[in-house]
């Protein structure tokens, strides 16, 4: 980008297209009805392609989002006139589209409430408990996040065909059950919200996953999960303590993102991270969200996870980490969920408080967990514990397993270095 360029030239805000895709799909689905997400997506794809065909020559328009709204309206009108299924309510639909003011865009502050509510309706529909968990995740990323099938597939290390299939099934479910494009009614909010929070949690963790190295789509997943949880914290119906707790968890985890990889993209373990790189603003938001979550009587898993994340993120130094508190929180979390991955994290806290021997004994109790056979963090923790106990051979074995499971070059590098370090110690 040339400096000295005329500063009045409109700039493309980061993620403008993705943001507009999510906004337009929600708006159009609201107009066409939940059974016609495909049509909404077709219109939006057409809008994006027209921008791609036109803007290289015309330059980016003064107000890109308003341009997209104008094109979306025209394409929507064409589709309504053409489409047989809309015939009986054609006039109403046309009137609705025509009433859509061009200044009512994805980024217009004046309409932020409406935009938020539309996005929330879309989230609640795509996270409906009747849809399979994988389907919810893929559909939400696609129609709310504005990610492509290919991007979702790459992030989840699955094939594009698989992701596409999940999305097709999810949409079929929405049509089959005529799931409403609406917020849940008051007495159903709690149950429906569970499913939404699960999806956001998965989106965030996929982006955050420590063992996959750098990948720009993953970082965007984190940002998007934060954006979506904030839609929930701002709506009176969904601004419940649990939602604030999840937001706090996201902020505390995201605060550490800048220090999680070195310049080569190789992961840096928590204890060795340069804490000066941690994002202070994210930490402050985390503290604020945690304060807001401290209401009511229900201590949710997200409360516990947020507090654990805060123990790590707010510690001045690695040595100052309050491991006994973290262990206690993992005790509570494990009692709640009985989940093997929670147990694995608890093992790390055990090693720090009681010692590697006790930790390894606890880890052995979970070694039959089928998921662990291909779970890199399991072998990484095991290798580290054996190494600390001077059990070099066992450590090397576990590092080799971890190495075999590493999905990216920087992560492989990390484990190769660990393996060499353990081997060198033995000589």
């Amino acid at each position: 980008m040339s400096h000295g360029a005329d500063t009045t030239v409109p700039r493309l805000v980061d993620h403008l297209f993705r943001q507009n895709a999510g906004f337009l799909i929600a708006r159009l689905t609201g107009i066409f009805g939940g059974s016609y997400i495909d049509d909404a997506e077709d219109v939006v794809q057409e809008v994006m392609i027209r921008a791609l065909k036109t803007w290289p020559f015309s330059g980016v328009p003064e107000n890109p989002s308003a341009w997209m709204v104008r094109v979306a309206k025209n394409c929507a009108l064409d589709l309504i006139r053409r489409h047989q299924v809309f015939r009986h309510k054609q006039d109403t639909l046309i009137a609705t589209v025509e009433a859509w003011h061009e200044s009512d865009t994805a980024d217009a502050p004046r309409f932020s409430h409406e935009v938020r509510d539309e996005q929330l309706r879309m989230i609640f529909m795509s996270c409906h408990p009747e849809i399979s968990p994988e389907g919810r995740l893929a559909l939400t990323l696609k129609v709310v996040g504005g990610f492509s099938t290919g991007e979702i597939a790459r992030a989840f290390l699955s094939s594009e065909a698989t992701v596409a299939q999940r999305i097709v099934r999810a949409k079929k479910k929405i049509r089959g059950l005529t799931l409403p494009f609406a917020m849940p009614v008051a007495d159903q909010v709690a149950g429906r919200l569970d499913s939404v929070l699960q999806v956001l949690y998965l989106i965030f963790n996929e982006g955050h996953s420590a063992h996959e190295g750098k990948n720009h789509i993953r970082a965007e997943f984190c940002q998007d999960a934060i954006r979506l949880v904030n839609l929930l914290t701002r709506h009176p119906l969904t601004a419940v303590p649990e939602v604030h707790a999840l937001a706090a968890y996201f902020y505390f985890q995201a605060a550490r993102l800048p220090a999680r990889c070195d310049a080569r993209g190789v992961p840096v373990i928590l204890a060795r991270q340069d804490r000066r790189l941690w994002d202070q603003e994210m930490m402050q938001r985390g503290v604020l969200a945690m304060a807001r979550s401290a209401r009511g009587v229900h201590l949710s898993a997200y409360h516990l996870k947020a507090e654990i994340a805060s123990c790590h993120t707010l510690a001045e130094t690695a040595a100052a980490t309050d491991w006994p508190r973290i262990l206690h929180l993992y005790d509570l979390l494990l009692a709640q969920s009985g989940d093997a991955v929670v147990a694995l994290n608890r093992v790390v806290a055990l090693a720090e408080t009681i010692g590697p021997r006790a930790a390894l004994e606890e880890l052995d109790r979970w070694s039959a967990e089928p998921r662990f056979e291909t779970y890199l963090p399991y072998f990484s923790v095991r290798a580290e514990l054996h190494a600390r106990l001077g059990e070099t051979e066992a450590s090397r074995r576990a590092y080799r397993r971890a190495l075999a499971l590493a999905m990216s070059e920087p992560v492989s590098d990390y484990f190769r270095e660990q393996l060499e370090a353990v081997t060198a110690r033995d000589r």
Binding site: M1, S2, G4, A5, D6, V9, L12, H15, L16, F17, R18, N20, A21, M48, I49, R50, A51, L52, K53, T54, W55, P56, F57, S58, G59, V60, G146, F147, S148, T149, G150, E151, E220
Partner: protein
């Protein structure tokens, strides 16, 4: 300075259909950066996209003029749009187009505008 017509063959919108919004934005941003570069050097005179439909082809045959719809939209050689830039000579015009992102998608034709001035 002379004017040069920069003709871009093949529209970037005819790219693989599975482009994500993020992909599309990054392509648009590349063109925008190139455009900004020309504009900030005071080189950009004009630019327009041509309509997608193939236009009309007129041929005179045996005293009558045949007008047909241009088949161009199917063809790779269709001109998607043009830029008019200022440059001292061909070398400079070509140099200004060296970093045009369009070269990743299609051909660029550079033609000097023959500006005839009345004596």
């Amino acid at each position: 300075m002379a004017h040069y017509m920069i003709l871009l063959e093949e529209n970037p919108g005819n790219m693989p259909p599975d482009l994500s919004p993020e992909d599309i934005q990054s392509i648009v941003a590349k063109y925008q950066a190139w455009r900004d570069g020309l504009a900030s050097q005071g080189r950009l005179q004009d630019s327009n996209k041509l309509k997608d439909e193939g236009g009309r082809l007129m041929v005179k045959q045996g005293g009558t003029t045949q007008v047909t719809d241009g088949p161009y939209s199917e063809s790779k050689e269709v001109i998607a749009g043009y830029f008019v830039i200022e440059a001292a000579n061909y070398d400079e015009a070509v140099a200004l187009c060296q970093n045009c992102p369009h070269l990743d998608y299609g051909r660029i034709m550079v033609r000097a505008v023959d500006m005839v001035t009345c004596p």
